[in-house]
Amino acid sequence: MSLEQFSKRDVAPGYILYQGEVEPKTGWEFFKRAFSRTIKGELFVGLWIVLREMLIRGNSHTISYPQEKVAMTPRYRAIHKLLRLQESGSDRCIGCGLCEKICVANCIRIETKLDKNSRKEVSQYTINFGRCIFCGYCAEVCPELAIVHSGDYENASEQRAHFSLKEDILTPLDEFKANKQQEFSGFGALSNDADSFVKKTPLAY
């Protein structure tokens, strides 16, 4: 096996290497090239293409943004949302701190305390969006599917602290009661056929 086979690995069999246009040498060749380019009509092909695109109605690809918006896919990772439990309406977040731990940008901070029933309660949940890189690890690691990424990409604000406090990202109660909380189907959510993978715990062990 020769070295040549390794040094030319980018050339697969069947490739045609384009050597570029052959430069004319003599004056006669220059004249022939200029003449053929003159009568080739390539310029008119360009003219026809733009005219055709102009004459087709409704051909515009513009989205007039404030009036029209792109529908975001479920896996799009924009500003986070904290979801509520479907049954009771209380927070899904159990304050386990996994998201805080896994966050690569170290931007999540959870404050927890014991409430009057001696249950762990999340008193504050903040995300520093100046540091967040929207990697989605927090949504993926969350065991309760409480912290998720929403499709809210319009995160311009007067205050850099906006969107980041617990009351900003938690589903508002009135919105929840109006049944508007969308179940999250994106990053870290269970797949549609997740039920088929559930097995009984083998108690025999």
Partner: protein, 329 residues
Amino acid sequence: MDWAIVIETIIKSIVVLSVVAAMAGFATYIERKVLAFMQRRLGPMNVGPHGVLQLAADGIKLFTKEDIVPQNAVKPIFKFAPVIAPVTAFTSMAAIPFFPEFTVFGYTVTPIISDINVGVLFVLGVASTGMFAPLLAGMSSANKWALLGAARTVIALLSFEVVSGLALLAPLMMIGSLSLIDINDYQIAGFTSWLIWSQPMAFLLFVIAGFAETNRTPFDLIEYEAEIVSGYATDYSGIRWGLFFIGEYANMITVAFLVSIIFLGGYNPLWIIPGAIMILIKISAFIFLFLWVRAAWPHVRPDQMMWLCWKILMPLALINILITGIVLI
């Protein structure tokens, strides 16, 4: 002195100034819309229905923008240069007959400010003088991009001026007059008498030279963004830049009128269409061609433009003159 003529001329001048300036302004809107549709965009949409009033918004922006004169610029020339562009563009319109004669309240109006017997020469000469605007602007700006733009102005002038002059010579040999009214009347016999049929090569050459003269796309090397930012106008903003803009669009309209009158039968009526409508159709079509070409074609480099003008177009123009001369004899 006949005061009626003085007053009539002043009124005509004001009408031409205001109408052409309004047309030039509206052409910017049309240009943005046509380019947008050709590139599958919407263009201006928000100011007025379908963005018709975008022109007003642009005007307010241009007029109220801060007027900046760079520190190292040659200030008197820097301030004066933008004025040359619209002044020469509008002055060159003095010898152009815009419409056929018409009668208002029993008074016959000839819609030409001054029917001088060297009309074509005057129009081309004054329009070429307009090249002083980018030249002086570029040289006085103390900016290397502007200076390059000024240098390119000169080579553009040296290239296209030969072609436009020689291309026009052949039809002028056939007509025997430089007055644009005579040129128009030469083609009065109808569609088949249009000079484009007897002088197709001259028509082609003059249109190409017209693109170069108005700095439109294939030849807009004096303000080519990708190479020299904005060319001669790099340091200009606000109303001074706006004056260059008005001058460019007025020049487009002038060239459209020239081509329509010299080659496309001018304002002669065709079939049942009256002459005034005919020339409006022609100049609209020609301005659309300007925009169309801008949407479709790439730029040429300065050396390519010089090569094209001097090595291809000028010999073709000379051969055209020679053949015309032989046929005429």
